[in-house]
Amino acid sequence: MKVKILQWHAVGSWTWDAQDETCGICRMAFDGCCPDCKFPGDDCPLIWGVCNHAYHLHCILKWVNSQNSTPHCPMCRREWQFKA
């Protein structure tokens, strides 16, 4: 049997490859965005620490910038360093 394809629709989906579903700081879904953004995706990216905990970039920056001394990971309290 020969099939002739006349038309097709492609549907793509994406998801962040984080172990958790929600950001430990704002508690919003990783596949959504932080409360200050409107759209998920590249405009509101996730970022990992060397301890492998992930947060919305905007959320962890707010935390890191609010600390006077060495910032630590909100989840495991290890010194926070961005994973390269």
Binding site: G24, R27, P35, K62, W63, S66, H72, M75
Partner: protein, 161 residues
């Protein structure tokens, strides 16, 4: 003279009110054992009733916690105090201030009202004696202008209770 017992009533930031709404929902489906919180109009001040755990010095006693959230919660810790009469405990002052590191230096934005409540109940439950901190009178006198416990320079020296 300025009083800070009433934390500045700046409106909550977007991230703060968003997160608190989630915490309210989470509390309603899964409240921490021993605690009662009646949702009211104010997201910014929660009054929570805590009941002493069975088998501890505070069995069946009830106390009230007042939790005030700052504009930039959860980057900043909430202010948590007991509304007097506060439980008799070596780390709880008669004005309701609580000497507990996670409420000050060791706060982390991953903590929630619920996890703070559990820490407080655990602190109560491990109490060896119903007594006030040794420096209670001096501390309370220093706070009489309505100073917030968040302005106290705490030192945490006792990890047993």
């Amino acid at each position: 003279m300025t009083s800070s017992s009433v934390p500045s009533r700046k409106v909550l930031s977007k991230i703060a009110s968003n997160r608190l709404q989630k915490e309210v929902m989470e509390w309603q489906t899964n409240p921490p054992a021993g605690f009662k919180y009646k949702v009211n109009d104010s997201l910014q001040r929660w009054i929570i009733e805590v009941t002493g755990a069975p088998g501890t010095l505070y069995t069946g006693e009830t106390y009230q916690l007042q939790v005030d959230f700052p504009e930039h919660y959860p980057m900043e810790a909430p202010q948590v105090i007991f509304i007097p009469p506060a439980p008799l405990h070596p780390h709880i002052y008669s004005n309701g201030h609580i000497c507990l590191d996670i409420l000050y230096d060791s706060w982390s934005p991953a903590m929630t009202v619920s996890s703070v409540c559990i820490s407080i109940l655990s602190m109560l439950s491990s109490s060896p004696a119903k007594e006030r901190p040794a420096d209670n009178d001096r501390y309370v006198r220093n706070c009489r202008n309505g100073r917030s416990p968040k302005e106290t320079r705490w030192w945490f020296h006792d990890d047993k209770v």
